[in-house]
């Protein structure tokens, strides 16, 4: 009854590169993208993982106007790469959708507007406000890509784009669409940097996910997209797809608005649900891309849930947020792209700066880059505020 779904291409931009090739190079050389901000306008000297292009630079890469929100520009750069990678520059013969996720929308422009507006309620350029809504960024990009059959946007904090990826897969499974460009984006903004700063979970140094002495997270920015296709589309492609989204699950921790439950109930439900959906056992997983933000609370909750689910047999795992920072609404999509690349190239990514493993956990994340590994199934975790927990499983076909 349901149609199979294949991953046909991927595209990505983050602090460690503006395309897939640059990301692979950064992983190989173990080069993180965390440092002082250059483009974000803020008084705080907190380290961030900023994309190395100004808005004008991104606009040139995206082929869009440079006065658009940074979220839209980042999104367009990665989504266009994904379609090119899939060999799907002409999508006109297929029913195509764009399912994107973000948490800030056009907040960067709204912040500029607000400074003027607060001086005088009749002031502020309305042009800076028109793309405020989260959905606006998706529409700017869908219009740029010529996608009209279905466009939507998901926002569930840090799990947003993992939800976008599996919702896209469901739309193909049900024969509603043939192709979906799915993923997410977020740009660094003063709003989010200050928001996380009030929560006192920003690391003043470079973050150390899953370390006993972890101090918090570094915010990052970026965009990641996968091209999901039906079997009919897959057959028409020059390159045969090598990977599928075999499992996914979405659960709620229902414990606290921001804190994860100590035993990681939501994380456990998401991971076990995704494995069930894929018809896999924990022992089948060859690599886990951790949510691994570097906060006290996330890493112990996620680690406890993994200890329970994978009891005694722990696959290699790591938090790539040690490279890209925590990109919020984009993180699930970035890490979905990393999962797909892991299968494609047999790569396992290092968890950078891990000095002292957490004493509560019976496993230690991988600390060095590895290549040539046999990676058949990858689990990717994305957990967020509001208890929103999602896990994805990608498998080799």
């Amino acid at each position: 009854m349901f149609k199979p779904v294949f991953i046909a291409g991927s595209g990505i931009v983050s602090a460690i590169g503006s395309n897939v090739a640059q990301h692979i190079a950064s992983f190989e050389t173990e080069s993180a993208g965390i440092g002082q901000h250059r483009y974000l306008q803020t008084r705080h000297a907190l380290p961030v993982a900023e994309v190395m292009h100004s808005n004008s630079g991104l606009a040139a890469l995206a082929g869009m106007a440079d006065d658009l929100p940074r979220t839209a520009l980042l999104s367009a750069v990665a989504a266009q790469e994904a379609l090119r990678d899939a060999g799907l520059e002409d999508i006109s013969r297929w029913r195509t959708g764009f399912v994107s996720a973000n948490t800030v929308g056009g907040m960067d422009k709204t912040e500029d507007f607000y400074a003027d507006f607060m001086q005088d309620a009749a002031k502020g350029r309305l042009r800076n406000l028109v793309h405020h809504e989260c959905g606006a960024a998706s529409e700017l990009v869908a219009d740029r890509l010529g996608i009209r059959n279905y466009v939507t946007t998901i926002s569930t904090a840090c799990s947003s784009s993992a939800n976008a990826v599996f919702f896209a897969a469901r739309l193909i499974r049900q024969n509603f669409l043939d192709i979906v460009v799915a993923g997410g984006v977020d740009a660094l903004t003063r709003f989010t940097l200050n928001g996380f700063n009030t929560l006192m979970i920003l690391d003043k140094q470079h973050c150390q996910p899953f370390d006993e002495h972890r101090r918090g997270l570094n915010l990052g920015e970026g965009a990641g997209y996968l091209v999901l296709v039906s079997d009919a589309v897959a057959e028409s492609l020059a390159r045969v797809p090598f990977c599928t989204l075999s499992g996914y699950s979405n659960a709620n921790d229902a414990y606290h608005q921001t804190a994860s439950s100590p035993d990681g109930t939501g994380s456990y439900l998401a991971m076990s649900g995704a494995l069930n959906k894929a018809g896999l056992l924990p022992g089948d997983i060859d690599y886990i891309n951790l949510h691994g933000t570097g906060t006290q609370n996330n890493d112990i909750a996620e680690g406890t849930a993994i200890a329970k689910l994978f009891e005694g047999r722990y696959p290699p795992m790591s938090s790539t947020k040690s490279f890209t920072g925590h990109t919020l609404g984009a993180s699930g999509a970035l890490e979905a792209v990393f999962s797909v690349l892991s299968i494609q190239h047999g790569m396992i990514y290092p968890n950078l700066r891990l000095a002292t493993p957490m004493k509560e956990l019976p496993f230690t994340p991988v600390t060095r880059f590895q290549k040539g590994c046999a990676v058949r199934h990858v689990l990717s975790n994305s957990f967020g505020f509001g208890g929103n927990c999602s896990s994805l499983v990608f498998s080799k076909v």
């Binding site: 607000y114 607060m118 979405n250 659960a251 414990y255 509001g386």
Partner: protein, 346 residues
């Protein structure tokens, strides 16, 4: 699939009141009639909740009670603007205090998934939880997700809601775009139509089930959305195709529930669609009861579900000789986001 229950906090205090004596609003907006929240929400949770969260959580709880469902298999929200009051509060202070002395609560509650998350927290519900934030398709996307979960048998009962709020700031800002009448009245919104409409808000929830309970409000036969139609012709084609796909002849539609909002350019699209399908079908224009806002489609479904459940109905045009059995809802935002819902009596 079946609409087992439908609840709304809206500018109307309830369905019966709307049918008999709809609340009249003058000026540029319609705002919600809010209940006493202390009866439904734990004071410890209430103290942090802004208006939209209170409205959302309360309407959700009421909907579950009506449906007699303790734990839904999924909670799916749609909101275009998210939690505006909290967003504004944090933004304002951030500018004013130059990125110092900011309140974590406003930031935490500002995230778009807060309403869905607070419902889960209140119910201790670990099930599927998702939030769509796509302008005039926010609620429709949530509904598509809900319908697809039911179709995949991933869920039996899904709580789906659409929420958006007006704040003083958002109203002032949207007004600067020239969207609203300065001295509007819901009594004369359509006579005559003119430039601009009235702003609206609401929190509307449905409990959707894949099996009949025997006490359902209505059957949700189908939904369709389309984005940025190139021309009026495409709008008409999409509506005709939607009906054809569901094997409904225009003559079998008893009532159209349409999103006319009083703005001449906006309303001409509804008029042309009605003319294209069948000019004789009685219709009801729902935005005089809820105002114009991106998730107003949820209110239209709430209204239609209750019309089919109770059989009571008022029409702006045409007369209903018997309680309607089939309703077509058409709603669009700026002619870029169109949605169609088809409902029938159970």
């Amino acid at each position: 699939m079946y609409i087992r229950a439908a609840s709304a906090i809206s500018p109307q205090s309830g369905f019966e009141q709307l049918m008999t004596a709809p609340a009249v609003y003058t000026g540029s907006k319609l705002t919600c009639v809010e209940p006493d929240y202390t009866a439904t929400i734990d004071p410890k949770m209430l103290r942090r909740m802004s208006r939209i969260i209170r409205m959302g959580v309360t309407a959700a709880k009421h909907c579950l009670q009506e449906a007699d469902i303790q734990q839904p298999d999924a909670i799916i929200m749609g909101t275009a603007y998210g939690c505006l009051a909290d967003t504004e509060s944090f933004l304002r202070r951030m500018v004013e205090f130059k990125e110092e002395l900011l309140n974590p609560t406003a930031f935490i509650q500002s995230t778009h998934n807060t309403v869905g998350a607070q419902i889960a927290l209140m119910l201790k519900c670990h099930s599927y939880n998702n939030t769509y934030v796509h302008r005039g398709f926010s609620f429709e996307s949530a509904l598509l997700d809900a319908m697809s979960l039911l179709l995949e048998s991933e869920a039996q009962h899904v709580l789906v809601g659409g929420v958006d709020e007006i704040t003083d700031t958002s109203h002032a800002l949207l007004s600067r775009f020239g969207l609203y009448r300065a001295d509007g009245s819901t009594e004369t919104l359509y006579e005559p139509s003119g430039k601009g409409t009235m702003n609206g808000e609401g929190a509307s929830f449905l409990l959707l089930s894949n099996q009949a309970s025997g006490q359902d409000c209505a059957r949700l036969v189908g939904m369709h959305t389309f984005y940025k139609p190139a021309a009026m012709r495409e709008v008409e084609e999409q509506v005709v195709l939607f009906l054809k796909n569901h094997h409904i002849a225009p003559a079998n539609i008893d009532l159209m529930v349409c999103g006319d909002n009083g703005d001449t350019a906006n309303d001409s699209i509804y008029q042309q669609v009605r003319a294209a399908i069948n000019a004789e079908i009685p219709f009801l224009r729902f935005k005089r009861y809820c105002g114009e806002y991106p998730t107003a489609g949820a209110f239209a479904l709430w209204l239609s579900a209750h019309i089919l459940k109770t059989g009571s109905c008022i029409a702006d045009y045409g007369s209903l000789h018997q309680p309607p059995r089939t309703i077509l809802v058409h709603h669009h935002s700026n002619n870029t986001h169109h949605s169609l819902f088809l409902l029938s009596v159970c």
